[in-house]
Symmetry: C2
Subunit: 477 residues, 2 copies
């Protein structure tokens, strides 16, 4: 049995699983991660890294073009081959040896193969060598993530649509691209491919606006910007039938009658948990379901506090950084419980053993042009929770640092203030290069720093961060 | 008398004075600002705005050049004429009508002329119409700022050196420029002019390193970067004699024997208060001295709590944004005391009536390449205050967001942690485009957010702000 028994077994070696394993090993336990594909997961190869690598050169060029004196030095357009080649490097050429090396350096064992629960504290791993049984002394952690939902539209599966994986790893731009879904993936990929060779781009969004979970002004800004870029945006629209002609052309028939003709279709219409073939039925759970966890990341429905889950699979916040956050907490919880630390039993919010930020302070940056950066609650989300809030808005172009940053800088920010507590509970900023602004808001939200104390946090002049001064003035400080 | 009596008289219509006046008017008092030069002050015409306007196009181009895929689209160098013309626009073509309009919109009276104290609550204004006596019912506020120190080097005055004013407003680059002083002004102007036409640039710094009040690694980074740009940096060096030849060439004889030949000299060796002709002697103070104020910005040496000072003139923190901060607090204090609000009498730190951040949490961004951004205390400053601190360092190039931002991104960050309180008391970040990162640290320092709470402030992936995660991990979170 020796080698096949570990303190902790992690299924899924994406960034979440890596973090769980790292923290339990740092906590003095042994750990193995089981991975059927590449170590590093979607983020490294088919999501964050390649998508941002595609977008960054475009953004850098747009930023320089927006400043008089720099603009004149730019005579060309992005070098598409160089952009793709840089993207390939950031995806490590889809080779996980660097990540495997990282596991080794962190004393984490790796077992390649398909992992499946096989009852209490047991995992069966299937690979080309056959089946291996693993037993966990303390915990099994499910970090298998999510995959793109392919909606049940007749003909869609048959045209072999792109998902985020293909959209971020493609080697050339389709001349005509139709995107089903106007969320983050759809908007980012529209921004990228419209500048990398795609000539006709259509976003088909069933709801009334793009990025619907964000403040409406963020949706409006993205719609306008994509529209100016020549992207056609169809809201309140659904495809009812899809087919590919013999010459490769895809035809999408819309509910309103029109047919969209494209060379490729990107399905970016949501995510589903990768739990359908995970052996959940061996521990009394339903295959294919999201995994409900408590704030210690423990799957409460399974007795004995040995089954945990972290990352997308929990549905709490489907973002790499939040998965990693959950992974760190989950790993610390498992190690603390293995060592019988009482403070880990029923941890209070904001302690090291309780995921808290993933309900209250989830930051996200959408790397479009303009960028959208947000943390915490929108006005609508706060109201849905019964919090009495006030929205403070400010025109970012009026901030000196923004005007210096780009000629005709256009942007907007909204701070959402909990009136009763006098603290910021949400912030949304839209504008060129606002991504790095949001962490200040994350600290303010998480730190529950009162507005009258934030009044003393003076932004350096002339940075775009001076936005804070304007928001606080507008809030009546 | 009517029109010549005001609740508050502000001498100096720079950004600090404007803020004082704005806050007292918002507090229900009448105010006049007295200004001998342009409304808006140095920041608008001869400091922050024009200097950053010179630097931003260069930075934007450097940023685009540093990214594969964008680099290939840049074939030219900055358009110097366009950079200067953009700078002129940001200096409002040295016309203050916009600022005058702002005063009017904010119900602040303006009296053009030279203002001088004339005893208790009295100010005499001298202009082309003659002398006008003003009386203040509540307060006189001195916001006259600072000017460049011209060191007592034989011959220096006679060569009519540039100060920050001329360096930021010049219409063409001197072919050879010698800079006396390696502080913020010297480093920023070396960065700008070395890219705008100056071919030979020498910084003469009497101390052992550039920007000596910053962490040593920041000095090193700037020295290296300026050196690569061809700037010659002479430390532990002083000029002992300066003279200009008939053909316009300036010769600077150094204490080590060498002679530097230049077309222009920029003196950037410190600041002195503009209080030498301010009538200080009429209220028992010494002309030419810095004005010592308590945390309510009141000049304690003058009885009756009617004389205030804010901005550079107090020597507390010689930065536009800190002057504005003091101006806001000073204005609120004056209004509150005029209305007998007891909480304004002896205000506690971090209340709205006590300048506190200007001792504990002063942020500054140096707009060089790389940028330097810092807030709070360096290790040396903390130790000098007797605080037991730990420095946490991190190589910024290892952060995924930084690697995506620029090929071969090089940078470094240091977080200074107060061991006893478990809070951040200082942060320094050096690297391309790090300026907007510092406000997060300012909020953490001002908010005194404990490290174990900061652990829940998750940075969005993949932004450069993920630096925070790495620093906290390195701190043992």
């Amino acid at each position: 049995m020796g080698a096949h028994q570990y303190d902790v077994i992690v299924i899924g070696a994406g960034s979440t699983g890596e973090n769980v394993a790292d923290r339990v090993v740092k906590g003095g336990l042994s750990a193995v991660v089981v991975e059927a594909e590449r170590v590093g997961g979607d983020c490294s190869y088919w999501a964050c890294m390649p998508s941002k690598a595609l977008l960054r050169p475009l953004q850098a060029l747009a930023a320089a073009r927006s400043v008089g004196g720099a603009r004149q030095a730019i005579t060309g357009t992005p070098d598409v081959a160089a952009v793709l080649s840089r993207r390939d490097a950031f995806a490590a050429h889809w080779d996980d040896k660097g990540q495997v090396q990282w596991l080794r350096e962190h004393q984490i064992d790796l077992m390649r193969g398909y992992g499946r629960l096989a009852g209490r504290r047991r995992v069966m791993v299937i690979n080309e060598s056959g089946e291996t049984d693993l037993t966990a002394r303390h915990a099994v952690v499910l970090c298998t993530g999510s995959r793109a939902v392919v909606p049940a539209i007749p003909g869609l599966v048959e045209v072999h649509p792109w998902t985020s994986r293909e959209a971020t790893s493609a080697r050339e731009a389709p001349r005509r691209l139709a995107i089903l879904g106007g969320g983050v993936v759809g908007c980012e990929m529209a921004t990228a491919w419209s500048q990398l060779g795609t000539e006709e781009l259509t976003i088909i969004q069933h709801g009334p606006r793009l990025i619907p979970s964000y403040e409406p002004f963020a949706s409006d800004a993205l719609s306008n910007a994509l529209g100016k870029r020549g992207v056609r945006i169809l809201t309140r629209t659904e495809a009812t039938r899809v087919a590919r002609d013999r010459d490769g052309t895809v035809r999408l028939v819309l509910d309103k009658g029109e047919t969209i003709v494209a060379d490729q279709v990107l399905v970016a219409a949501g995510r589903q948990p990768r739990t359908d073939d995970l052996g959940l039925e061996t521990v009394g759970l339903g295959p294919g379901s999201w995994l409900e966890v408590d704030d210690s990341l423990c799957v409460g429905a399974v007795k004995g506090s040995w089954l945990y889950a972290a990352g997308d699979v929990t549905r709490r916040a489907l973002l790499t950084h939040m998965g990693k956050y959950q992974g760190r907490i989950c790993g610390d919880v498992i190690a603390a419980r293995a060592h019988n630390r009482p403070e880990s039993t029923a941890p209070a919010p904001w302690t090291r053993y309780a995921a808290t930020a993933d309900r209250n302070a989830v930051p996200q940056v959408i790397f479009t042009e303009p960028e959208v950066a947000a943390v915490g609650l929108t006005v609508a989300q706060a109201q849905a929770r019964g919090i009495r809030v006030r929205a403070i808005d400010y025109d970012l172009g009026r901030v000196a640092g923004a005007a210096l940053y780009a000629d005709d800088y256009a942007g907007r920010a909204r701070m959402v203030v909990d009136e009763a507590r006098g603290v910021v509970v949400g912030m949304t900023v839209v504008g060129p290069s606002v991504g790095e602004l949001i962490h200040a808001a994350t600290i303010a939200v998480v730190g529950e720093v009162p507005l009258d104390r934030l009044w003393h946090a003076v932004p350096a002049y002339p940075t775009i961060s001076e936005l804070w001064l304007r928001l606080l003035e507008a809030a009546g400080c």
